[in-house]
């Protein structure tokens, strides 16, 4: 496999080839093989030579094995905790709302119904065609509850790059372009014809950029 040679891999292999103590003949050979890492190989070897040669510093305290092991275990514990948090965050991260709906065992129309919305609005939300700041908190809460996500994960998803407008599938003359201006949530509700009037009024009651939002 042809891959770009990385310094990390060169140094790993150099240490392995050299053995326990640095050797200038081996250094010359490796500089010949990897001239672009000449400086790094030399610096590495000089440091290695010093470490193998210098005597203990005066006045250093003796540290027993138990202390060293405890110190190392504390680092491992912190690292495992950090990895755990990372994994949890990744689990909550949403890359595709439609996939998350499936993962939650729902169909898009069920979710729409439970949120008092239409399938078309949910699809627009999933494609990030709605202006994120216009989306009411009530809808965020509803999605959190149904998809078992945190509000910040839902908000982050909506703030991502917009997908293709719903109409592009019908326009094949030129390559489609992502929609730059997103629709205000309440304007989308007003324009939506498949919602019943009760649902529409419910959502529009959160409009006016503020009072009930």
């Amino acid at each position: 496999m042809n891959k770009e040679i990385q310094l990390e891999d060169v140094l790993d292999a150099y240490v392995e080839a050299t053995g326990e103590t640095p050797d200038r003949i081996i250094l010359r050979e490796w500089i010949r093989r990897y001239p672009k890492f000449r400086r790094e190989l030399i610096e590495f070897t000089v440091q290695w030579s010093l470490m193998e040669t210098l005597p203990p510093s005066e006045g250093t305290k003796a540290v027993n094995e138990d202390t060293l092991v405890l110190r190392a275990m504390s680092i491992v514990s912190d690292r495992l905790h950090a990895l755990d948090l990372r994994d949890r965050a990744e689990e909550l991260e949403i890359s595709d709302l439609l996939e998350e709906i499936k993962k939650a065992g729902l169909k898009i129309n069920n979710l729409a119904k439970q949120c008092d919305l239409s399938t078309a609005i949910i699809t627009k939300l999933a494609k990030r065609l709605i202006e994120p700041t216009s989306i009411p908190e009530r809808l965020i809460d509803c999605l959190c509850s149904l998809l078992q996500k945190k509000p910040e994960n839902i908000r982050e998803y909506f703030q991502g790059a917009a997908g293709w407008p719903l109409s592009v599938r019908y326009c094949a003359i030129a390559p489609p372009e992502p929609q730059e201006e997103r629709e205000n949530f309440f304007d989308a509700i007003r324009r939506e014809r498949t919602m019943d009037e009760k649902q529409r009024q419910l959502w529009l009651s959160y409009d006016t950029r503020g009072t009930n939002r």
Binding site: S57, M73, E90
Partner: protein, 270 residues
Amino acid sequence: MARHPELTQPPKGGIKLRPLKHRALDGSLYQRDQKVEEQIISVILLDASSVIKRAKIRSKGSPDFLKEEVIVYLIREYLIRQDKATVGALCEILFRRCSSYIKYKFLSLDDALSEQAFSEVIRDVMDPILDIKDNNGDYFQVRFWSGLRRKTIDAGRKYYTEQKKRAKKTINDEEDMAIHDKIGEEIQDTALSAEDIIFCRQALNILPEPIRTAFVLRYYHGWQIESDDPEMESISDYFGKTSRTIRHWLTQAHKILRKWHRGEGKEPYS
């Protein structure tokens, strides 16, 4: 701990080890030694307490001894199985085997820097081992000690540089050379006997930089002051100084070390 579905499948169709994915410089996939594979297979189906018991054996001569590469594999295996207690026990065993080695490499650092360097090595070694979503830890399943040595030298570079910065003992070689030229003293590349080399080693820390590094490279690692071979790095090339300057530094080093010998109540070396 979060689950990783792609990694939680138990081995099927007999014992199949989890593959290495990192590639060596020649593009081939890393390969574990046969001995390592055999040892992994010998423990992988044991219960966790038996695995820990085996891993605790320190005697390399014992048929039940497990190499460090095997312990690294097991740490990752038990992480995948989400058995944190066994992961902790195996990490502790690994540290009991290697922490003194790391500490020893930083003996000439002061206590605070040595502690920081030690912690950095542990992080650099354990981060890729513990991250089971990544294959950066593969090397430690193939050449543990070589990988550890590499990380130790990396940390050494950082913290020895830090110690050099803090040290006030540095010489301004240009000023020094000017004085030296006025005196007109002859600069020689003194040869040291094997006995002198051993004896001088105790006092290397009293030498200021950069003459200490020059002295170590010249007398302990056989570097030439200047080299006829353009591919062979010399001390002059490394420091970007003339051979005369390097000889002067070495002369300075000899003076300091001879003085130290006298202070120790010993005959200075020739």
